[in-house]
């Protein structure tokens, strides 16, 4: 590490610390005005809430935590009374805690948003870049030195700390966004600029997500500058995240069009067929209709065609947002995936189980959509979709999927949970031109390829016996080929029948005759 990198790391840590510290800045004071004007509280709820919230008016709280808890209690009390009075239909299900807390925050963040934005995000970004850029001076080539000596990349204390932070972040983001309103306030100006409205926690998430992909994407481009394949692939995920996933949907909203990510597809985008989405698309004229057809064409046509031609990598490591984060932010942790046979067995049950769950859940949803009936037999379609949203959408893809990067590798979600990856994988395994070719008898069984496979494929097991790697899970990131010191592995597309699916009896280089 040279001096610039040391300064960079210091700036990053300072920026990050300030960012975390902004959560404790300012006070939270509820006023009648906030409840009535600033936030979208429905008229009928306003009256109910106002009566109970009166004691809170003007009282200032020093943390979002206490404030939002008190406010949630009020909402709970209102509902309690409604239930007692058997007015179940009036019970408030909207989550007002987040918007009310956000609107009630006042202090340095609201007064000097830009200053605090630069002190936190700004310093962290500058610091990260100062840390990353000097690696450009190293000679190009694989530089995986000390990965297993460093506590951040070998499940050491930094890795555990980082994992804990990520898990906590996702829990708060999904279930307690009211605690992080100050972070959301920091990105309000960006949200205003893009979509003309204030930021939600999801806007904050999208912003952070894109930022991570961009900065860590730059790191990828520098780290693998001897490999155009890795560089172009990194640029691709950076591009799709920034434009398709982040900016275009926000601009659509600004133009009063439906929020739509043109590269996200069912079944990863599991609520594509939910009634709210279908209704929104169908009520938005030609563009809405186009979006509906596009979304269906993606998984009906694009998946089989492109996966046949190039393997699932066309999506998983070139386009997908989850893949994009894994390939950039997650790259330092790719070696932590489990390569054991046991893990492979678990993976197959889990990922195909989730695919089945997604299909069944969607069938329920569509049944309800077309028939208007909420139950098939004793099972309510709403409880099925809620279960999916909670267990798969929130817990698995977010909390486990990203939170466990530093502990179980960067593709936990893609490998064990993503229903789209399962679908793409079936096509890749059974009907595709894609394979990783092994180069004759050159393998020295060193194990670099297996170690750095983020999907936990034991690449060496194939390479050392001269068998092509044809695996449903392979996302074609190309790192095995990059780290192989003997030039054994190559990602190739050719006639599906030319894939070497069974290890040859005798490998290239041995001239002893074959035995019939």
């Amino acid at each position: 590490m040279n001096n610039i990198q040391k300064i960079g790391l210091t700036l990053f840590v300072i920026g990050f610390t300030i960012w975390v510290a902004t959560l404790s800045l300012g006070k939270y004071t509820l006023t009648e005005g906030i409840l009535s004007d600033t936030v979208n509280v429905k008229k009928e709820h306003y009256d109910l809430l106002k009566a109970k919230a009166e004691p809170m008016f003007g009282k200032s709280y020093s943390t979002a935590f206490e404030f939002s808890n008190d406010f949630s209690k009020i909402q709970e009390e209102v509902n309690e009374e409604l239930r007692k009075a058997e007015k179940d239909d009036q019970v408030i299900y909207d989550n007002y805690a987040f918007i009310v807390t956000k609107a009630s925050s006042e202090g340095p963040i609201t007064e000097h948003t830009f200053l605090w934005f630069w002190l936190s995000f700004g310093l962290a970004i500058v610091g990260a870049l100062m840390y990353i850029f000097p690696n450009n001076r190293l000679l190009p080539g694989i530089k995986n030195d000390h990965i297993y000596h460093h506590p951040a990349t070998s499940r050491g204390w930094i890795g555990i700390l980082l994992g804990t932070f990520l898990i906590a972040f996702y829990v708060v983001l999904y279930f307690y966004p009211q605690y992080i309103v100050n972070w959301v306030l920091l990105v309000d100006p960006i949200s205003e600029a893009l979509n003309g409205g204030p930021a939600s926690q999801w806007f904050l998430y999208g912003f952070l997500y894109t930022l991570c992909i961009l900065i860590m994407g730059i790191r990828m481009i520098i780290k693998y500058r001897h490999s155009p394949y890795e560089q172009i692939r990194s640029v691709s995920v950076m591009f799709f995240q920034t434009s398709f996933a982040f900016i275009i949907p926000e601009i659509l909203v600004r133009l009063n069009q439906p929020y739509f990510d043109f590269k996200n597809m069912w079944p990863l985008d599991y609520d594509f067929f939910f009634d709210f989405n279908l209704n929104e698309l169908l009520s938005n004229g030609t563009l809405g209709l186009f979006m509906l057809v596009w979304g269906i064409a993606l998984f009906v046509l694009a998946v089989p065609i492109f996966t046949y031609l190039y393997g699932k990598r066309w999506y998983c490591s070139w386009v997908c947002g989850c893949g994009g984060l894994a390939e950039t932010l997650g790259d330092p942790h790719r070696q932590l995936s489990d390569k054991s046979m046991r893990a492979w067995k678990i993976e197959r049950y889990m990922v195909h189980g989730v695919l089945a769950f997604a299909i069944i859940m969607t069938a329920f949803v569509l049944y309800t959509y077309f028939t208007g009936q909420s139950n098939i037999g004793p099972v309510s379609s709403y409880s099925v979709r809620a279960a999916y949203g909670f267990w798969i959408g929130a817990l698995f893809s977010g909390i486990v999927g990203v939170g466990f990067y530093p502990l179980m590798g960067n593709r936990v979600w893609c490998r064990f949970g993503c229903p789209l990856a399962a679908y793409l994988g079936l096509v890749q395994r059974f009907k595709s031109r894609f394979r990783i070719t092994t180069n004759g008898g050159q393998c020295i069984s060193c194990g670099n390829c297996s170690t750095y496979c983020e999907m936990g494929i034991d690449v060496r097991a194939y390479a050392q016996k001269g068998q092509d790697i044809v695996r449903a899970s392979c996302v074609g990131c190309g790192i095995c080929s990059a780290v192989c010191p003997r030039g054994v592995l190559n990602l190739e597309n050719a006639d599906p029948h030319s894939r070497v699916m069974v290890a040859p009896e005798i490998m290239t280089g041995n001239d002893m005759p074959k035995i019939k």
């Binding site: 995986n144 297993y148 394949y229 172009i232 004759g440 008898g441 050159q442 069984s445 041995n510 001239d511």
Partner: protein, 452 residues
């Protein structure tokens, strides 16, 4: 059911065990004193550099052995009684165990060379071959900042690369006038030499080790503090890596009836002079080496092929050792190297040599071909990957240099989007040898057409 005992759990012994298991129900015992499980020796450097941990270098999961009924014994074999088909195992306990065999396969590997230099037994002086050497190197290089590597070969450069990751300054003493010049032709040797220097290694050519010195501190254990070279230079250092080649591990057989010379002598069936005793891998010396093959070849894949061959002889039919066209590969820091066929340091009589180097100085190709009929005899490629099957087919099929170059795209094995060199290579060849006037065939990939 025969009892097949395999001594050595390296690539040769383990390949034999696996293939014997595939084709028979015999009892198989594999013995090694080095580690409990088979690991990849070639990956030792990556453990030191932190790319991998020891467990990643094991090509098979630990359950594999029991599942395949391959018994593992971690023990040193201290005595061979070939007459009674019995060996003595020293397992670290006081009572040695006797083990009888029906068939014994010796895959005992190599040992590092040391040529009797004064001071070669000092602390901080070591070779690099075994897992124990790796542990020793960890201990020996802890907290030091100067090291000397003796020898300019494959293990020497690996040791240099390893030490650089610990911010240790490295001086490399190489006897030849260029790096690995005994094997690599001049241009390649010089290119790699430049690359070694670019990494900050103090590469001293035409320099030989004279002696290794200690600090004359008779109290403490004697540790290396400097070396002197034959030119009379003194170089201070706290570590000396001896990387001057390896020799078959045959000393242990000196008082037995097993015939050895440099290595354990075997016929083409890998049989030793003693019935039911085979030898495979690094420790072997072929009595009648095949054409274009050396009598002792210490390479990963030759060990593997011998293991495959001996397994077939034991389980199916008596089969001679028949490696195909020579090939090998290595990596010199950031530059990958592959070779196919014969590319000696000096092109012999009757062989022409075409060399192409990329202007960046890290990618190169050499094609050797016969002067009389233009058939390809060997390939050296650096910083560019070629397809083994294709190169083998060309050499075995005695394709002419013109054919090879016009079909050069077929051998391409670099990842997608990498810069393609076929055009420059063919253009350079046509300049080098205008009478051929080769035209490059095949189709350029779209990215080459895009970027020209």
């Amino acid at each position: 059911m025969r009892h097949i005992v395999i001594l050595g759990n390296g690539i040769s012994g383990i390949t034999a065990a696996r293939h014997i298991r595939k084709h028979s129900d015999d009892r198989i015992t594999v013995i090694s004193s080095e580690t409990e499980h088979f690991f990849s020796r070639t990956a030792l450097m990556y453990i030191y550099m932190g790319h991998m941990k020891y467990e990643h270098t094991k090509p098979y999961e630990d359950y594999f052995w029991e599942k395949n009924r391959i018994e593992l014994r971690q023990a040193w074999v201290s005595h061979f009684d070939f007459d009674n088909k019995s060996i003595t195992l020293d397992e670290g306990t006081n009572v040695p165990t006797e083990l009888t065999y029906d068939i014994l396969i010796l895959g005992v590997g190599s040992e590092s060379n040391a040529f009797g230099w004064p001071g070669q037994d000092l602390e901080g002086v070591q070779g690099f071959y075994s897992f124990q050497d790796l542990e020793a190197m960890e201990a020996n290089t802890e907290g030091i900042d100067r090291a000397v590597i003796v020898g300019g070969g494959l293990i020497g450069i690996e040791m240099a690369e390893m030490l650089l990751t610990r911010d240790i300054r490295v001086t490399m003493l190489v006897r030849e006038e260029a790096y690995w010049n005994g094997v690599l032709p001049k241009e390649e040797a010089e290119m790699i030499g430049r690359h070694i220097r670019e990494h900050g290694v103090d590469l001293r050519l035409e320099t030989e080790l004279e002696a290794i010195h200690d600090d004359n501190n008779r109290e403490a254990a004697l540790r290396v503090t400097s070396v002197t070279t034959k030119n009379g230079e003194q170089i201070d250092c706290q570590f000396v890596g001896l990387a001057v080649g390896v020799h078959p591990n045959v000393k242990q057989f000196s008082d037995t009836a097993l015939e050895t010379d440099k290595g354990i002598l075997v016929n083409e069936f890998l049989e030793t002079n003693i019935p039911d005793v085979y030898a495979i891998g690094d420790c072997v010396q072929h009595r009648n080496p095949l054409e274009d093959r050396k009598s002792v070849e210490q390479i990963w894949y030759t060990g593997r092929i011998m293991g495959e061959t001996v397994a077939r002889s034991i389980c199916q039919t008596r089969t001679p050792y028949q490696p195909g066209v020579f090939f090998n590969s290595a990596k010199f820091m950031d530059i990958e190297y592959q070779t196919y066929g014969q590319v000696p340091a000096e092109a012999p009589e009757g062989i022409k040599s075409f060399y192409w180097e990329h202007p960046g100085g890290k990618i190169a190709l050499r094609l050797n071909y016969r002067e009389d009929n233009n058939t390809l005899t060997g390939i050296n490629n650096f910083g560019m990957r070629l397809r083994h099957e294709v190169c083998e087919k060309w050499i075995k099929g005695k394709k002419s240099i013109g054919y090879v170059l016009s079909h050069f795209r077929d051998a391409h094995f670099d990842p997608e989007f990498f810069q393609r060199h076929e055009k420059s290579i063919v253009a350079a060849f046509n300049k080098h040898s205008p009478k051929h006037n080769v035209k490059l065939g095949g189709k350029a990939p779209f990215w080459e057409r895009v970027w020209g």
